[in-house]
């Protein structure tokens, strides 16, 4: 008899002793044998902890006969794709006499694999020594393949979302690029228009023509400044009229280099939607331009500009102490028309009053709540 045969004989005898300890009518033993759940008992006190008993359900599950199973270690069920970490977990639990529940990929006699929900528990005698290990198995390959299907479906859905996101991102990048390109073109074109007007103003010998051209240039530049400031702020849909007024007034007064024109500013940021930026800026441009022109011809004066929110209204005031002088009729008419058109465009009211040397122009406009503002 070989050593292997001897081990198998020992294992079978141990199994027989285990069965013999239970009377025929023992309902627990009967249940163990008849249950549809595959179960085995191993003996850790024999060499290599062999199977000493297995039920019919276990034979059915694995395809091995009782003869082939008794006396061998359970690793018989392991195969090429069995996870080494899971195997380690089982042997660790057995070595330390602990319960263990794992999901492990096992192999049947015919070489096909199945997912096994394995539970192993030590059985101790009255002294606490481990005499057996009891193991139950559950084939959950069907569940596992459902899981795999679900995981695959989820993966495909995620992939589809990722593809969608990438194309949206690409579209957004293209759109951003387009907006920047158009913005760049618009800015260069505005500057080109201004340059052409400047050139002609320089070439003409006629003072009247030159004045007319400079008057056109002034308005082109006001619109140019709006375009520049719309894209300078992070939020392109928001435009700060106070910021525009500051730059316009300081640049204008700075460039004329006259010590007798004193500018004071009282500005708090007032944001308006992009659609209102041009008309409101034209209003500020007309009022400030008018005050400076009169100051220039009059011999100086004080100019005070206020931009703020007042009782839910947007409020602009331009005040100056220059004596009103007769300006050229055409340019006065143009200024009046631009003011009127811009005011009607945004629904603003313009009130002009005169107190001695002091000219006061108040512009009022109801500003909608931010969330109602159309872009």
């Amino acid at each position: 008899m070989t050593k292997g045969d001897q081990f198998q004989t020992d294992a079978r005898r141990a199994g027989d002793r285990l069965v013999a300890a239970h009377v025929r009518e023992d309902p627990f033993a009967a249940a163990f044998k008849a249950t549809r759940m595959p179960m085995i008992v191993t003996d850790p006190n024999q060499h290599d902890n062999p199977i000493i008993f297995c039920n019919t359900a276990f034979e059915r599950l694995t395809g091995y006969s009782n003869d082939e199973l008794i006396g061998v270690n359970c690793r018989l069920l392991q195969g090429p794709a069995t996870d080494k970490g899971t195997v380690l977990k089982i042997s660790d639990a057995i070595a330390n006499g602990r319960d263990v529940a794992v999901d492990i990929l096992n192999y049947k006699k015919d070489g096909s694999s199945f997912w096994n929900a394995l539970f192993i528990s030590p059985v101790r005698d009255d002294d606490g020594h481990i005499v057996y290990f009891f193991a139950s198995q559950l084939d959950f390959t069907n569940v596992k393949s459902k899981e795999a299907e679900l995981a695959l479906a989820r993966h495909q859905a995620e992939e589809a979302v990722a593809v969608g996101t990438r194309s949206l991102e690409a579209a957004l990048a293209a759109r951003t690029l387009l907006v920047h390109e158009v913005d760049h073109r618009v800015k260069n074109n505005l500057l080109t228009m201004a340059s052409i007007v400047k050139m002609q103003a320089r070439l003409t010998k006629d003072q009247g023509q030159r004045d007319a051209l400079m008057s056109v240039l002034n308005r082109i530049e006001a619109i140019s400044t709006v375009q520049r400031k719309l894209f300078t702020t992070d939020d392109i849909a928001r435009f700060d009229i106070a910021d525009f007024a500051r730059e316009l007034a300081t640049d204008l007064v700075g460039a004329i280099r006259r010590d007798d024109i004193h500018l004071t500013l009282d500005l708090t940021p007032v944001y308006v939607p992009a659609v209102k930026a041009s008309p409101l800026s034209l209003i500020v441009n007309e009022l400030v331009g008018d005050a400076v022109r009169r100051g220039l011809s009059d011999g100086g004066g004080e100019i005070h500009i206020v931009v703020k929110r007042l009782n839910g209204h947007f409020f602009i005031r331009v005040e100056d102490t220059s004596v009103p002088v007769e300006t050229d009729e055409t340019s006065a008419e143009l200024a009046r028309m631009l003011l009127e058109a811009s005011a009607r465009q945004v629904g603003a009211t313009i009130e002009r009053s005169q107190e001695g040397r002091r000219t006061i122009v108040n512009v009022k406009l109801l500003v909608e709540n931010e969330k109602d503002v159309p872009y």
Binding site: H184, N188, T192, E221, R228, D251, L252, G254, A255
Partner: protein, 141 residues
């Protein structure tokens, strides 16, 4: 001061040239590409330069700027999108955003010519966005 204009739109370049000359400065040359600009710097080094970012050979204005900074020639960018400039402004004093106005450019030019001449008493105009280290002394020879 002797000024170089680096700008690929000839109409804008010529108009800027006129504005520079009106303010009693001399234009040493107009360059439409980074190559022309770098050649100009070698041949007739300017004392100051206006540099557009987008030139005929691409967004190479920044390269021109770095060369100028290396040669300690003060300059400003003139660009339609100053948000796209490098954080360190590539050594520029600052930037003038397009479309600038006649007044804005005149005020910027007056301020720039003063600081290049060593007078830092004035405050910068609204049309000029200064770099953080715009006024460090080693920038000017």
């Amino acid at each position: 001061m002797k000024v170089m204009i680096v700008e690929d739109e000839m109409l804008l370049a010529m108009e800027l040239e006129h504005e520079v000359e009106t303010a009693d400065h001399a234009v040493v040359g107009i360059a439409a590409t980074s190559g022309q600009a770098m050649a100009l710097v070698g041949e007739t080094p300017p004392q100051f330069a206006f540099v557009d970012v987008h030139l005929q050979d691409g967004p190479t204005g920044v390269d021109v700027g770095r060369l100028l900074a290396e040669r300690q020639i003060p300059y400003v960018f003139v660009s339609g999108n100053i948000k796209k400039l490098p954080d360190d402004f590539a050594g520029a004093i600052g930037a003038i955003e397009k479309p600038y106005t006649v007044n804005g450019m005149a005020n910027a030019l007056a301020y720039l010519s003063a600081i290049v001449g060593g007078d830092q008493s004035a405050s910068p105009p609204a049309s000029l966005v200064l770099a953080e280290d715009a006024l460090r002394p080693q920038r000017f020879r």
